[in-house]
């Protein structure tokens, strides 16, 4: 039998296992969806008026603050989903079951692939929920079907990149507590970008960081696709970041996994 077909079959088995976990114990998914939804409500209803006035001249289409902030919060749904991967991988590594998997003749990468794909699917579902809430409270994108597909594609790529990074974080974490804190920087990064307010309003040093960090071009691309603001070269930069982060996350995971095997 071919090893490639085994690798796919084993990864599917692991994926089914992780999705079953998610369905049976949905508290993690709720927590992961809850965070961006809370952010959305907080920034729209509590800070919305003040922030909206402050960024009145930013190109947001309608001029409503919800239209400015929604794309950023949608991205936050992707970053908070990385928690699922980190914790899931770490739980597997610290409990006995991974030793069992490693003494079986199964495809080596399938454990990680199952986690990454499984949590990417969960994250896409939670992104859909966040988009739904945003629409319900007044987010009015003007994207056409092709642009929506591009949005979904970009979010899927971002989610995949973040999941591989988080898988590596889960592998190097010694305890589940550490693993659940490890993706924290990823979750905070959008704030120091163009998610909440435009980088132009920030002090020079922070602004420089905001302009060049990976999430700003992603947010700008999402905003452009959803609301018709200018994308410029943000799209290409966003894709390059996704490819780069996926490669780093994947390689880091491989190395970290092999290190656990050798000890």
């Amino acid at each position: 039998m071919s090893t490639a077909s085994h690798a796919v079959a084993d990864s599917m088995t692991m994926l089914r296992r992780n999705l079953r976990h998610a369905l049976r114990y949905p508290s993690m998914t709720f927590a992961v969806v809850g965070m961006p939804v809370m952010m959305l409500l907080l920034f729209n209803y509590v800070f919305g008026d003040a922030l909206g006035t402050g960024i009145a001249d930013a190109p947001t289409g309608s001029g409503d603050y919800i239209d400015y902030v929604a794309p950023g919060i949608i991205l936050m749904a992707a970053t908070s989903g990385s928690l699922v991967t980190a914790v899931g991988v770490c739980v597997d590594m610290t409990e006995g079951i991974v030793s069992r998997f490693r003494t079986m003749a199964i495809s080596r990468g399938s454990i990680l692939t199952g986690h990454v794909v499984g949590s990417a699917i969960q994250t896409m579902v939670s992104i859909a929920l966040v988009v739904g809430v945003a629409l319900a409270i007044g987010f009015r994108p003007n994207a056409n079907p092709a642009e929506w597909i591009a949005v979904i594609g970009l979010l899927a790529l971002v989610t995949l990149a973040l999941s591989w990074l988080a898988a590596a974080m889960g592998l190097v974490s010694k305890s589940v507590e550490t693993a659940s804190n490890a993706p924290m920087p990823l979750q905070f990064l959008p704030f120091i970008g163009s998610a909440i307010v435009p980088p132009e309003s920030m002090p020079t040093g922070v602004r420089w960081f905001a302009d060049y960090q990976p999430f700003t071009p992603v947010i700008e691309t999402l905003r452009g696709l959803l609301l018709g603001t200018g994308i410029g070269n943000s799209g290409l930069i966003a894709l390059a970041w996704c490819a780069g982060l996926t490669a780093i996350g994947y390689l880091w995971s491989r190395v970290a996994y092999d290190r656990i095997v050798k000890r």
């Binding site: 409990e95 030793s99 003494t103 003749a105 199964i106």
Partner: protein, 329 residues
């Protein structure tokens, strides 16, 4: 001797299920295994006996491909450990010290997971799951989440999961540690059955001397990373002169008289006891009683002490112990 057929020199030697030479492993400065040699025949139970920290789990981890040895080589099921790890993995099943089950799934789902990873196909996977859960008395709990299982049930499920893939060689790392006496008996019965009915080879580690005595065809004693003895339980027991008949007397006068009758006895004047070397046979016991009768002496208590594996263990693992005055035997 027990009914196990030890390979006579004229018979073609049985194929080794596991063979190892010079296995070494250290973690940093700490040497955990210092050159282990093993040869375990197919269809037998082998027990690796040793105290905590002797290197038992490390040995299992190396032989089951979980970690790599620093030096030495080993073949498991005919495959070289370093060069053909997947061949080894296809032939073995491992049940570790801590139950390797998925707590978020039901017992049945855990079994299906194993069946899927062995690429068994749906029907065959269901058939084996049902049969194994029935065999291990877990059929009623099949649909329950494993998180609600007791320690004994968890171990049984763990072993059932190991058996889904029909392994030829099974590693059991301290299979009964932490189990209550009843669950331990059940586990023993299951292990015996596996060898008797399925003809598998079992490599088990234990810190319980009784367990090794009960189950194993051959026992190796591991202490601080070195094998210090190997043989059948009988052979190991013979290696130490632990058997004796102990007589104790309330009155000093009687103790004196008895001590004169048994010249070979070890005397302890303070507790007024005599330890007479014995092979544990009835005739020796009768001889001792006859001598006492002849002198019209009566002991207050008499106990017959046959050497058990505890004696072996204590004698072999503590070289500094003062009582290791080994008589040539």
């Amino acid at each position: 001797m027990p009914a196990t057929h030890t390979g006579a020199s004229t018979v073609v030697p049985t194929a080794a299920a596991i063979s190892a030479a010079g296995l070494r492993k250290s973690y940093g400065d700490k040497l955990v295994l210092d050159g282990i040699d093993l040869r375990i025949a197919e269809g037998t139970i082998f027990a690796l006996l040793g105290p905590n920290g002797a290197g038992k789990t490390t040995t299992v981890e190396i032989l089951s491909t979980l970690i790599a040895a620093d030096a030495g080589e080993a073949r498991v099921a005919g495959c070289d450990l370093a060069r053909e790890p997947d061949g080894v993995r296809a032939a073995i099943g491992v049940t570790g010290q801590f139950a390797a089950v998925d707590n978020l799934l039901t017992a049945e789902e855990n079994m299906f997971l194993m069946a899927d990873l062995h690429h068994l196909g749906r029907a065959e996977g269901r058939r084996r799951t049902a049969a194994l859960l029935r065999r291990f008395d877990l059929a009623d709990a099949a649909r329950r989440s494993v998180a609600t299982f007791s320690g004994g049930m968890r171990r049984k499920l763990d072993l059932a999961m190991t058996l889904v893939g029909d392994p030829r060689i099974i590693f059991l790392d301290e299979p009964t540690t932490g189990l209550d006496p009843r669950s331990r008996r059940t586990m023993w019965d299951i292990i015996r059955e596996l060898v008797a009915e399925d003809g598998v080879t079992i490599f088990l580690t234990t810190q319980y001397l009784e367990e090794a005595d009960q189950l194993a065809d051959r026992i190796a004693v591991l202490d601080r990373g070195t094998l210090i003895a190997e043989g059948t339980a009988e052979e190991l027991k013979r290696r130490i002169p632990g058997g004796h008949i102990q007589l104790s007397f309330a009155e000093p006068h009687r103790f004196q008289l008895a001590a004169e009758l048994f010249e070979t006895a070890v005397r302890d004047a303070e507790s007024r006891t005599l330890r007479i070397p014995s092979d544990g046979s009835v005739s020796t016991l009768r001889a001792v009683l006859d001598i006492l009768d002849g002198a019209a002496l009566e002991a207050d208590t008499l106990t017959v002490h046959t050497p058990d594996l505890d004696d072996v263990f204590l004698t072999l693992t503590s070289p500094a112990h003062p009582t290791t005055s080994r008589s040539a035997s």
